[in-house]
Symmetry: D2
Subunit: 292 residues, 4 copies
């Protein structure tokens, strides 16, 4: 018998993730604010619900993949009551650890479980079942979630029982990505002004000491300034850097590089670049060097 799973939030990431659950044989019911988007999955076997409540069976598993803390908190209002005793909420959005702690408490009050399971990977990786997932929360709940998570990823890493831990880890990762982008941007400005070819420069590092996806993929985008269409919109990147800064402030951790990339993102927004890929902060390094 197929295991029922509800999936809420069919954005650029959620849609391919839900599709992979279907492929793996789960009985998937979905809910999305824009219903039309959900209906694209009907022919593949998904059931489309009209509300969060209607999407959830008591005691089952629900996955949320939403744009930000506010969207998750809004949607999550109806989840504990719908899940009830024995249910499990797997929260996969990039949100603050505080949000996870708050939601864990509201689920505990009705006897359902809650774990954080944010992901690394762009939409292409989600489609290819190549996401990396990091989890935190109750160990038994994570055991229960594993088959579901496995259907969407190439690897699952556990970060202990404190439910916000995986959220913090996700934020440190996005921070290190945008920090690497800024470093590549400055390196490119220095190289370009000294006559080096931008693609040769990034290609060299992507084949040698920085032979990993972040430097290879972003390096190519940066070298070519391929900021449109956006793989990850700058305005969404700003949301994540805000979460990093808020979490750092809460924990009293000065992060000067986080402040610097925040200033780059803010300036890019001031210049109307919010819909470009977040690598477009590179334009500031070029402009500051008089290159544009």
């Amino acid at each position: 018998m197929t295991i029922p799973v509800s999936f809420i939030g069919l954005g650029n990431m959620g849609l391919p993730m839900a599709r992979n659950l279907l492929k793996a044989g789960f009985a998937v019911t979905v809910f999305n604010r824009t219903k039309e988007r959900a209906e694209t999955l009907v022919t593949e076997g998904v059931v489309v619900a009209d509300s969060v409540k209607a999407a959830i069976q008591p005691g089952s598993i629900v996955i949320t993949m939403l744009a930000n803390d506010a969207a998750l908190m809004d949607i999550a209002r109806d989840i504990p009551a719908a899940l009830g005793k024995g249910g499990l909420h797997i929260s996969m959005s990039t949100v603050s650890p505080e949000t996870s702690r708050t939601l864990l408490a509201t689920h505990a009050a009705v006897g359902s479980d809650f774990i954080a399971a944010p992901v690394f990977g762009r939409p292409e990786a989600a489609a290819a079942q190549k996401l990396w997932i990091c989890t935190s929360g109750d160990a038994a709940a994570i055991v229960r979630a594993r088959p579901v998570l496995a259907a969407m990823s190439q690897g699952i890493f556990e970060f202990g029982a404190e439910v916000g831990a995986a959220n913090v880890l996700k934020l440190t990762g996005n921070f290190m990505i945008i920090a690497a982008i800024e470093a590549m941007a400055e390196a490119l400005a220095l190289g370009e002004k000294n006559g080096l070819n931008r693609s040769d420069l990034m290609s060299f590092f992507g084949q040698t000491i920085f032979a990993c996806p972040i430097y290879q993929n972003y390096g190519r985008i940066l070298a070519e300034r391929a900021y449109e269409p956006a793989g990850f919109k700058l305005e969404l990147g700003m949301k994540d850097v805000r979460l990093v800064r808020d979490t750092a402030e809460e924990a009293k951790v000065p992060m000067p590089v986080a402040d610097l990339v925040h200033a780059r993102l803010l300036s890019a927004l001031a210049k109307g670049r919010g819909n470009l890929d977040w690598t477009a902060i590179e334009l500031a390094s070029a402009e500051d060097a008089g290159l544009r």
Copy 2:
């Protein structure tokens, strides 16, 4: 018949590099200020010279691998005359593009060639013939240098005829490395203060989105704070960041992350940490967060 090569500068990098030339069958004559260090190679077949001049045969190839611009300029005073017409100087030190341009001119005056061929890799990589080499300069001279360089490396990348180009590339690389170290340090402070295990954090990224040597090796050192013994001394790292800043100033390229890591290195020197590995700038992030 074996091809004669002179190797000047037998530091932590130079010694294993010269040894690989021997293994590859070159007839190697060496010169090192501290002669004792050179003599460790005698049983392996090397000839030890008493001076730069004595180490060099007219028209042959000489390699220099020295600590900084000043040391190179000092040693290089005697090289053009000793090499004479048809000679080739392969400069592998991390130095400024300006130094390469100056040396090219002094060699041209006597009819010898000069190319820049700086390397990426720590001493272990040098020993294992796993260096990455980037070259710039006259194309024919690089063709001539290739067999020599191949004996010391796992890959050679060319960056054109402008002799300083490879030096700039080397500087952008070292800059991106120390920038990544700073980003990891800030991420670790944020993680640690939120209860994450430092090694788990770095291990996750080293296996996933940052699966490349820089994040894997430095990530482990940072997680464990294994700053002694130093793989690359902080005071030497400072020398490289100074070259980055000087080159950026010359080219009028603001590099805020370079300024930030420079401040970290300077503070570490002020605190007497010059002999630790340059990853030890991490201590500042921890201290600023009240962790130590």
Copy 3:
């Protein structure tokens, strides 16, 4: 006949300000959460109320001087209804422009006026009637407020009809103060390490090119490291810098110096220095230079 004025919030600033209103002949009714503090003014002629509502006469003038936006918003809930048609709320706290805009709307709904009138000056200046006041809001309301404000200040400056303008001005001022503190701290570290006497250095500038209160007063505190007792607690300074950053983010204005002083304040809080004067961010410059 004496004009009735209500004063809410008798902190280090509010108490001497209310006292100056009494001295100027206003009939002052006060409310403070900690009633004992209010009662110290009874012998001087003040009436102490038990609640915000009880403190306010319909159609009169009420002044608020509270610790932050949250405290003001909380207290302000009862003010419009108590004031009613023809009343005037003079808001003198350091708060966000957004808070002023929100409160203006709630007052407009009942026919009362609202202006922003934040102040510059420490408690000693408040006691000496030496505050500087900047106002924004409806011109007629400001005319009505002037006699009241004059009793507490040495000068009143108007910044137009947009009610949040004076709040923004106040934030730019506090930002420039903490920026000057950081600059003095860095200058002192450079001077001290080069053998200059800290007091001689600051005294010179306070008598010459920086002969103004901020550099004279803070310069002396910094030179002597007289951080206790605090004239303005570091944790309150952090509140103001947060407002600066929030306002800058809202307006999309990158402010790298604001980010830098925020990092200094955050680190000081992480090290348990929240109760020192906010000039104590100087300790970080000294520590970074290996001076302590």
Copy 4:
């Protein structure tokens, strides 16, 4: 009898300074690379020399006021021999403390004295005898210099016997000035984007908490963006900030605000703004905020 004084370097500052010496009754002999400029003072009673040597009488006093360390070192080569035993060199340029230490040694070798006496004030202040002078060096030599310095200034401050001390003080001052400019620039961007009038904003602070020349004069220039003609050219400001950074590096003092203003100046140079007043770094704050 009039005391003979030689004055070398008749730039925007040197010319009015030499004129004040004439007015005070000193017998002034001048030398300037561009002789025409020196000759404008002939009708006022000055003697124009053809060389440094010709300008100097043995055992007398010579003042230098030159553009930078290199120009001073170049000119100073001939001074000790010309002055000989009992002579005094008063060095008023903005140079590094190291340069003063070097020159002190060369003078000591021939029995002449050397003191540092850099000045604060723009050309208008020099013309009005309103400079502030800070001195360091041998106490007796400073006593001897005082009448000469008094003729050019409104105040003389002593900073002890270590000859580089006054140079360091001068650098800390120029650093605090450019730091204040950056802070004003960021404050103006925040104010302008929130609807405040730029001149109103700066005028308020210049009349209240920042009522001192730096904020008043630069505040007006910044509010009106009156960057041409330059009172102090940006490219000269860069020279001074470089000296600050070099001195900070030498002393191992991280100065993040110095790094920030250096990046602003460097970017301005990259954009071709080197001939504008150094306040023009403000344009970067405006551009980053999307205001231009």
